[in-house]
Structure formats: structure tokens, C-alpha cells
Symmetry: C2
Amino acid sequence: MKIDVIPYASAIRPDLIKNRNVVVIDVLRASSVMVTALANGANAFIPVSTVEEARQKAVKLHDEDILLCGERDTKTIDGFHLGNSPQTYTRSKVEGKTLIFTTSNGTQALNQLQEAAEVFIGSFLNMKTLVHRFLEMDDVVLVCSGTNNNFSMDDAMCAALFINEIMNMKAVLLSDLSITLLKAFQKDNGNLSLLLKDCYHSNLLKQNGFGDDVDYCLQKNILNIVPEMKNGRIIKG
Amino acid sequence: MKIDVIPYASAIRPDLIKNRNVVVIDVLRASSVMVTALANGANAFIPVSTVEEARQKAVKLHDEDILLCGERDTKTIDGFHLGNSPQTYTRSKVEGKTLIFTTSNGTQALNQLQEAAEVFIGSFLNMKTLVHRFLEMDDVVLVCSGTNNNFSMDDAMCAALFINEIMNMKAVLLSDLSITLLKAFQKDNGNLSLLLKDCYHSNLLKQNGFGDDVDYCLQKNILNIVPEMKNGRIIKG
């Protein structure tokens, strides 16, 4: 299995993802939100790039049961129903709803993947199920969303965990970045507390009062769904 | 000291390098060529992006003692005096000469750094001297040139060696990518043979008959100069 990694959203180029199976990883917090909400019965996410686009889409889809969701500068957007804290996406709030979703990093990545073969959502929460989903496939591009157009260790170590797990099950052909992330992950024996001790994004969230979100998002294998993108919507696969 | 890393040449953005001290790293082989040739008495390198630009520059600088140097697809360019094998840049060939230089990756990086404060050339060959040069500075951006617009482990592990060495001498503030490269480097205790065993670029060069170049370029601290860019030329600092 051929494994490539794209280090952050703005490094996505059509030639890197065309006709390939892509996993989008935005651990803190868009991927974790989508996995959690879909596991709690949400109907679909519609990722959009801007706040204005989200509001327009809500008007257009007035016959669906809509929630406006997302963040800017880590915080809930004025007038939106939900922010970017996964644990607020409870069953009572999201079941049967269509969630229009805009975030600083994760949804930017999703909107650049039109030429991919298949697009899946990866996080620590659903890693085991995600890896099993790929056992029969022969290639993957792991797209780390990053933070503010830069490389972010939380996403990179999630990509590394995918590589570490799937290598135990099948033969792999790793790109240079894949090898590098895997070595970094193995240096601390996959201990996320150690690996992410000085990670900019997780520390920023803690400073902004979202420490509980960070703790939640770094849990491995607690949800067993793999979200997929179909016709511009993220649904439970 | 603040340490950032840019993962490959096409990821250079003006906001990442403006007014900052930059080290350009293209281990295989542009950095190693420049360090070697300047140590052997070359007058200067003039980096250019295209083969055509190199020929035009040679005509324009007809009153200097010029050599046309560089590679495409790892091989010497038709009609050029020298390719990209550092050991061919002997004192007898390069002393006192001005070298017009175009390569697939390294010189592309150099021509995107107009807004940097200072630009230096880094390689394994001159690492110790380079690190000492930075002891009094308070920031650096390590630009890994990469290979064909992608991340390349040879450059990344050279950046990691810089970080590993300077951390022993002064306090540092590391970006997420800096931390990741350092952890990968330390996983194999800085053993380059182990780290680069599956590196795409070094294996490509070996397949193309340049195994001796790879062995040469991975030697640490055998030359004690730090090339710098001044007015579009790379000179011995």
C-alpha cells in the first residue's frame, strides 16, 4: 500500500490527490467534531469555506433541518448554533440534522479535494475503524489540515498512528514524510501526552479554555464510524 | 532562539521568511556543491532558475571567469562545464571562477528569498561551523529544498541535526515541524544510514550511479565555511 502525507491544507495540489483515496485529518477539532456528531445521529455535514457562505447555504437549504456550526479563532461564530467543541454535538442536539460547517483549517482542506477518488475523515477517535476500512485498498493520501496554513503536530501524529497501525497488517510503501512522521511518533512510543507537550495548537486551545476538548480529541478508538464525502456532504459511511 | 522549518521549496511564502535569517539546505546536492566549491577557492555562485537563464547570464558576465554548472534529472546539462557532483568541484577546476548554477531544487529555493534578512547555505559538511555562526542570533528559518516540490528526508534530517546541535548550546523555541524532525532524528540516534535507508532522493541518486556523491554529502563537519548570499551571489562568508 502506497502511503503519502500532505503536511497542511495549503500544500494540497491537484497532482497529489487526483484519483487517490484521501483521509482528511483535523484532530483539533473539525475531524473530531464530524466523527462525534455523525456517531450521534447527525444526518450530514456540509463543509463551506466562509461564514457568509454558511449563512447563504442555510437559506438555500431551508427545507432541511439545519444547524450552523463552526469556529473562527477557536471560538463559536456569532449567531451560529454550535462551535467546534465535539462534546457539544450531543444526540439531543444533532440527531437528524444537517450541519453547515465552517472552520479555520479542516473545512478549507475538504473543499480542495474535488479530484480525489474517495474522501474519508480521520481522527484519533475513529482510528481503528478507519484503518480496517483501508485494509483492502492499495493507496492513501493522509491530508493533515494543519493550523493557520502551517504544519501541526496533532494532525501529523494522527497520520503517524494510521501508518503505525496499518503497517502491522499489510505491506506499505512510505513517502519520506510518512517515514519521518512515523519515526517521530515511535520516538516517544506513541505517547500523545509526550509527543504533543509543546504542540502549538493544543496549547493554544488549552489557553483559550478548551482543555477538555483537547483531552477528548486525543482519545483513541472510542467511536467506530468512518465519515465519507459524497456529493459535497460528509455522511456516516 | 526561535527555530522554524519550511518543508520544501514550493512551500516558501514571503510571510514565513521576511526579515528572518534563513538557512537553505539542499543536501543532495546543491548545498554540498556550494560549500565544497567555495572551500576550494571558487569566487562565487550565481543561482539561476532555468538553463536558458544560465546561458544568458554567462554571455552577460563575459568579463568574469565563468563556469556553467548544474543538473536536470540528476545529470549534467548539455554543454555545461560541471554537473552536481560535489567532488568534481576541485580546486584546480573552480579556484577564482564565478559559477553560474542551476539545479532542480536548491537554486529554486534560493531565488525565492529576496525578503529574508540574511541567507546562508547549510549542509552536513559545514554543520558545526554553521551552528557556531548562529550562536549570537535569535532566530532562524531552516528551508529544506526538498525533491521535485516534495518533502525530502535528507534535507529534513540535516535541519534536525542543526536543531539538535544548537539546543545543546542555547535555549530554543521550536515550531511543530522543528519538534517533529528532531524527534525523528533522535529516534535513530542521529544515525544517517538508518534514517535515510528508505529516502527517495538518496536511493534515486544511487540508482543513477551517484552513490559516491551520497556518501560524500552525508559526512558531517569536514568543511569549515558558511556560504552567504549577497546581492544575488553566494560567496564564502
